[in-house]
Amino acid sequence: MDLDLAQFHSSFFEESFEALDGMEAALLGLDVGAPDPERVNSIFRVAHSIKGGAGMFGFKDVASFTHTLETLLDELRSGRMAVTRDISDKLLLSVDVMRAMLTSVQRKEAVDMQKVADLQFDLEMIVAQGAGGAAAPAAPATAAATAPAAAGNGAAAAGANGGSNAARWAIEFRALPELLLRGNDPIAIFSSLAELGKLTVVANMQAVPRLRSIDAERCYLTWTLELESDCARDQVDAAFEWAAVDCELTIKRVEAGASSAPAAVAPAAVVEAPVVAAPPVQVAAAPKVVEAAPKPVEAAVAAPAPAAASASTAQAAATPAAAGPAPKPADAKEPAKAAAAGGEHSSIRVSIEKIDELINTVGELVITQAMLSELGRKLDGSVAEQFRSGLNQLERNMRELQESVMRVRMLPISFTFSRFPRMVRDLAQRLGKQIELKMTGEQTELDKTVLEKIGDPLVHLVRNSIDHGIEAPDVRVKAGKSPTGIVHLDACHRGGHIAVEIRDDGNGLDKSRILAKARSRGLVGQNDVLTDEQVHELIFMPGFSTAEKTTDVSGRGVGMDVVRRNVKELGGKIEIASELGKGSRFIITLPLTLAIVDGQSVSVGSETYIVPLTSIVESLQLQPQSVNRLSGRGEVFSFRGDYLPIVRLHELFGIEPRATALHEGLIVVAEGDGRRIGLFVDELLGQQQVVIKSMEANYGPVDGVAGATILGDGSVALILDLSGLIRVAAGTARAA
């Protein structure tokens, strides 16, 4: 019994969070009125497995809440209750609450019990109201009487529930003969019950056979227990958690005498009626547990009445989303279906370190193989031909191995997309807009690291589209559009990159307004004429916002610059296409992985450097006459109407070059941080994909260098970081 369960915690949390994501997706896809039974089932299973896990690990609050949730879901699953908009809102809220609880438990922080208790009470109310037609007229009265119970319940977690009226639980525990064989220990159950309050145990030994025929491994006893405690039903249940299938169990609450106020007893009786109507078998997991009294009743009796108002306000505050009338919700059926289909694949959980180790080793192999090929070319003789063909075979296999190992780290972008249906739905409700979310290309795969880092920028862009892009329904109708705006998320592969597009059919970017704002802030001269591209560039300026008023959704002008910085850090770029009145498109282009970069090798003196292809605009050779000197120091040249500074890499890095005259070498026009420079190098070598290795592991950060890579001959080449390089160049120019 002393098994250390802590080692399983992390996988419990991981799986629970994943399951909650799935539950959320399923909820969003749930049709009000005519729910898909399979979907309800899958939602039920999530609640059930979290309850089981939480019970096992002793997370009592979580187990208690999920138990209530499960009860409600069971009603829905069996068709005894219909799925209404209100219920689905509450269920979504439950997902949030469970997430918050699990997070708190995981971090070993205190759980916000008030919120949990409020929602738990709401759920219980729904079950109580929906359990039978007979209960319907009584419902308002019940609500009034039991409302304070939620508050009382919350407090009960801290141990106080009304005080003097100590209630009693009468428990009939009839063990099946197999109880002991299954590893259950009645003594342990009793001692855990004893922790809840004063416990009296009476064993019934009638069934015990004569000594000769006793099988020591079988259980012949039944017990009658009496527990004096204010504890919740769930706590009593928890003690029998493991034994539930191996015994016949009756748990009854016996109220503490007739001392309760009669006023409170009356509505309680009303609530009890529908419960009797409900079938006695509650949950599949505990088939023989007979529900004798639901929690609202027990709490209602114990708690005083006047707190009703405060409890319901708290409850309203906890559910703002449910308060307003719900406009048409975002359509999220498609992704939910896809997610359901995706869940069928069998998979194993592997830590990311193991995969990275594997990738590293394969990287080594590739280098070794390249060295061998190099060697093979120099060999001659009869064996050499065989050797070379073997090497070719090796090379092919290596490439395949490398690709499949890289794919292990890849995940479909639906992991990031899946958060949007919920977000769009909530935002649309809050802003009073009608929005349909379309998602395509969710199965497009990209590196896990990229995936994790692209989430926030995408959230920001989608939020912007909803807040600034899509107009209010009446405005849309006036403009001759459908009142429902469309936000379209799309992902696809585009030549070794992945393009993620956020498209809306809203108002588009208002260039004149952006310009006016920029002029008023002095970012743009009064008479400057800007291209569309340059105007779009303005919205990436820190602190820039044209929103007339700041909402809690967006408009503070923080964000677009962060979005762009994040995208750039991933080695990607963001483009905007927009038409006033028709909508806008934000296109993010990202590398598939961070571990590999497409690079152009350049040589300077005896050194080889890798310039990331994403930074390169163009490469060209300069004629001496096209170079101008600025104030006798810096050199600039004209490139497509701009004057770009020339940065001599050999000077910057202190290397002895082969070419010092500009026309003898080459200029690589490269950009970083939105600035362009002409990088002067000796020559271009070739393009190749290189594996990025950290310089910091053993050395430290180097300005202008993003990392290093190992070339085919085993030597090291540095990968340039253009943003850093431009900063360094600017710094030395100023210092010179």
Partner: protein
Amino acid sequence: MNDSIKSGLQQVLTFVLGSETYGVDILRVQEIRGWSSVTKIPHAPAHVLGVLNLRGSIVPIVDMRMQFNLERAEYTAVTVIIVLSVQSRKGKRDFGVVVDGVSDVVNVDDSQVKAAPDLGSREATEHIRGLMPVADRMVVLLDIDKLIAGQLPNTSDSEDQASAAAAA
């Protein structure tokens, strides 16, 4: 390690720089390899020659002669790189030192190690764990953690920039 602590005995790898003999704890030695040309690091201190590929990781190479203000020697095929691992504030790091040649592995009793005399400046002696006689020569026992702490760029102050640069 445990044995040497118990008995006060440790094994030291000795190497030659010019006319001096130095020693490092052999448990810190990762490998000994011949000289191969290194890739220069821009803006690095002069004694950091560059980086090498050591079975897939990028390892900086330090010239011990320059570190100890000795006359610079040519790098030839017999020049040796000793790859050492040190504990820094950022965890374990590997780096290579270029030396003239590796001489021997000797057993040293802690009682034989004498403190370095005061040579006027703390810099001169702070990376020296002690002096010890081996045969008829004096071996300078190095504290490589201290030796290397001052050499590699400190990463703690510019962490954000660095990670941004690495991701770009």
